[in-house]
């Protein structure tokens, strides 16, 4: 089961992709993923129902979020209304350790993304803030990475004992599926995704 764990639609301020077009692209181009997670910036999209598209295109479409902390950007999986009420998803300066604590308390998972990127990645902030408590998973393959960013992320994960996921970070249709995460068992709901991530049985993959 291969899921792109990091995508953006037109719901994000810099996203330009409609979810239907993602589905059409995956099927038309035979992109080797079974589904994707919409991780819109600084919000959780409670309104949209993509079950019809998922059924029409035989794809898994899940929802998460990408929030912003003092260590850079962080993906959150397993968002629920009670979790959403515990911190301000729209803030650009959330304390990472608190985000992780809230996620743990609400059966969600927080994973720093593109951690090798200057300014918005975790590794750039380790010297100033130290190693944060509670991180288990980081994104080691990001479809938008430039230069050595993925290598920096992988080296940091290796050094600190983190497990890696992959996601395309697509903002336009044709970038979906460049990186993804492979799970040994089917993942069809947000709860199953959280359980699969907590099991720590997965591997990051890249097609770039």
């Amino acid at each position: 089961m291969i899921l792109d764990l990091h995508t953006h639609s037109i719901k994000s301020d810099d996203g330009r992709a409609k979810v239907r077009n993602y589905c059409q692209w995956v099927r038309t181009r035979n992109i080797p993923i079974d589904g994707f997670v919409l991780t819109e910036h600084r919000q959780f999209d409670f309104e949209s129902d993509y079950s019809g598209l998922a059924s029409d295109f035989d794809l898994v479409i899940l929802k998460g979020a990408e929030v912003e902390t003092e260590y850079g950007h962080v993906l959150v999986y397993g968002v629920t209304e009670p979790l959403y009420e515990t911190f301000d998803f729209g803030s650009i300066g959330l304390p990472l350790e608190e985000v992780i604590e809230h996620c743990n308390a609400h059966d969600a998972v927080a994973a720093p993304c593109h951690p090798g990127r200057p300014r918005v990645g975790m590794s750039a902030h380790l010297a100033e803030h130290g190693v944060p408590k509670g991180v288990r998973i980081v994104e080691i393959y990001n479809g938008g990475s430039r230069g050595e960013e993925d290598a920096v992320a992988a080296a940091m994960a290796d050094e600190l004992g983190y497990i890696g996921i992959g996601g395309s970070d697509s903002h336009i249709v044709s970038h979906i599926g460049r990186c993804a995460t492979e799970f040994p068992e089917p993942v069809t709901t947000e709860a199953e995704l959280v359980a699969a991530l907590k099991s720590e049985r997965f591997r990051a993959i890249t097609t770039r």
């Binding site: 810099d14 330009r16 059409q24 230069g147 249709v173 970038h175």
Partner: protein, 142 residues
């Protein structure tokens, strides 16, 4: 002999997932200097590598609106009769002058009622890094 480029002239010619002919923009310092002269931008960041480095940049950069011009030119090479309704770009990293770049485009939506197509556009450098991405909406004859 002039290069022959496949073109489309009507919306019926367009397929979802169809690729526009790839475009290699002229990112030379001469080109950005000419552009600077025409639009009145003679700032070193676009026209002089040493001057740009003094501003903290890795070298001279291609102005954003010049990159958008390349995107428009690419669409019109593919569809000469198209009316470009919008070009919407996200600049992720500078397009560096005197470094080879490639622009690719693919059709990602077709609205036959409105006679419009949506095109994904990506500017990559030689390392394959995305420097600019965006979408364009173009109107085509029926």
């Amino acid at each position: 002999m002039a290069e022959s480029i496949p073109t489309v002239n009507a919306i019926a010619d367009v397929e979802f997932g169809g690729e526009l002919p790839a475009f290699t923009p002229d990112t030379s310092i001469d080109a950005t200097r000419r552009f600077g002269q025409h639009v009145g931008w003679n700032t070193p960041r676009f026209t002089d590598h040493d001057g740009a480095r003094k501003e903290g940049l890795p070298g001279a950069i291609v102005p954003g609106v010049m990159s958008q011009g390349f995107l428009g030119a690419m669409i019109h090479r593919w569809a000469p009769t198209a009316e470009i309704v919008t070009i919407d770009t996200v600049f992720r990293a500078p397009v560096l002058v005197d470094q080879p770049h490639k622009i690719t485009g693919v059709v990602t939506d077709i609205d036959e009622d409105e006679l419009t197509v949506e095109i994904d556009l990506t500017v990559t450098n030689e390392a394959g890094e995305t420097r600019v991405f965006g979408t364009a909406t173009a109107k085509l004859p029926s």
